[in-house]
Symmetry: C2
Subunit: 237 residues, 2 copies
């Protein structure tokens, strides 16, 4: 008689994904409205500001995590904006900074999201994001996605950002899963997919636009162009 | 009778810098030769490649450190180059990748370095760098700086990159200092200065070209345009 042991390779090979966790910004939520607010506020310098802002926002999550000096995603995002404004030489009024920041609270979901989440509705779904609880609540509400998620998990709980294992473990812990590979993690950010893969999740890279994969020997298990394709690939649980 | 206690604020205020540790790439070593090699190899795409290469080289130090998957700086640098080539759509031959990488082994020192190190010669001097021991040995030799440094300290020993405190502590540990603020840390990278300041070093930002400070509430103790200005500011020990 053979007894099935948990955590064996054959279990893993069967790919028993017990729950799906989604990255928020750029994966579920379209940050386009941040760009349009910046174009209104900063005119022809908006494109440089938006690009630098996003870059510094990410850098500051990595740097503050590595330094062991966690500050929440709102702080990091605001500091990224201040750096970007300084770098392009824009002396923005406090109200302009506030208005640009507020764009993060009223995001739309990408057009494929609601349909895909509905068709994945038999599965346990969560958000697993760097965002602060307040930012995530606002974005989920603004995009009308509140009904789909069992949990909205924020880096706030771990006091560290992606791609730290101390961040990713919030997923299985919160969802009560026994092993990382029981969680399917979905992100449009190649580096986030690499970090989740390193942690042991089953991973899906939502390649919403053409971008090279990270050269880190951590390939996603699935690559799709949008969330409808993910739903189609996974089928029913 | 008053007894001077170690680690008091007054000791710190007096700024008793017992040793100086220098960042390597961009601070002591001019990575210009990397650019000129790339221009020869990749013609009009060189500038984009060099910019992306540096960006990804740094990102991969941060990401691999945060994931807890240290690979040495040579690996990280080579992967950054591969990403950059893929991003701009250049299918480089293996020999071209090797040649571009080899540029990191034959760097020049900036013109102010030798004179400044000589005039700081009464102090204990070290290099404290992300570089692998092999890369640092080659660069120190190529630039003719070998005689100036008591220690060349590599991230290899800590198995983690800047700005982790586990990296920075290699400085005081190797030099046998009692407190972080007894080490003066010198870097041209604003984020590196911020990380060193967070760890507790006295810090000097060598602003070799115009760049905004990081918006991280961690200002350097001194800002100079080159190492001669540092030597002038510190005077004799």
């Amino acid at each position: 008689m053979t007894t099935a042991l948990p955590n064996t390779d054959s279990d893993r090979d069967r790919g028993e994904i017990r729950a799906l966790a989604f990255d928020a910004y750029g994966t579920l939520f379209d940050v386009h409205s941040v760009s349009s607010t910046c174009r209104r506020l900063f005119a022809e310098q908006a494109d440089s500001i938006v690009r630098l802002w996003r870059q510094k926002q990410l850098e500051y999550t990595w740097l503050s995590s590595l330094m062991g000096r966690y500050r929440d995603f709102w702080w990091v995002t605001e500091r990224g904006l201040r750096y970007a404004l300084a770098a392009v030489g824009v002396a923005a009024k406090p109200e302009a900074v506030e208005e640009a920041m507020a764009a993060y609270l009223t995001l739309d979901a990408y057009p494929d999201v609601a349909e895909a989440l509905a068709s994945l509705g038999d599965r346990r779904l969560a958000i697993l994001s760097n965002g602060s609880p307040r930012m995530l609540r606002a974005a989920v509400e603004s995009a009308g996605l509140g009904d789909h998620f069992e949990h909205v998990i924020s880096a706030e709980t771990a006091q560290v950002f992606k791609p730290s294992p101390r961040f990713y473990r919030l997923g299985p812990e919160t969802l009560g899963l026994d092993a990382p590979w029981q969680l399917g993690f979905v992100s449009s950010n190649a580096w986030d997919v690499a970090g989740a893969k390193a942690y042991g999740f089953w991973t899906c890279w939502v390649k919403r636009r053409e971008a090279p994969a990270e050269a880190l020997d951590l390939s996603p298990d699935l690559e799709v162009g949008n969330l409808r394709q993910l739903a189609y690939n996974l089928g029913s649980p």
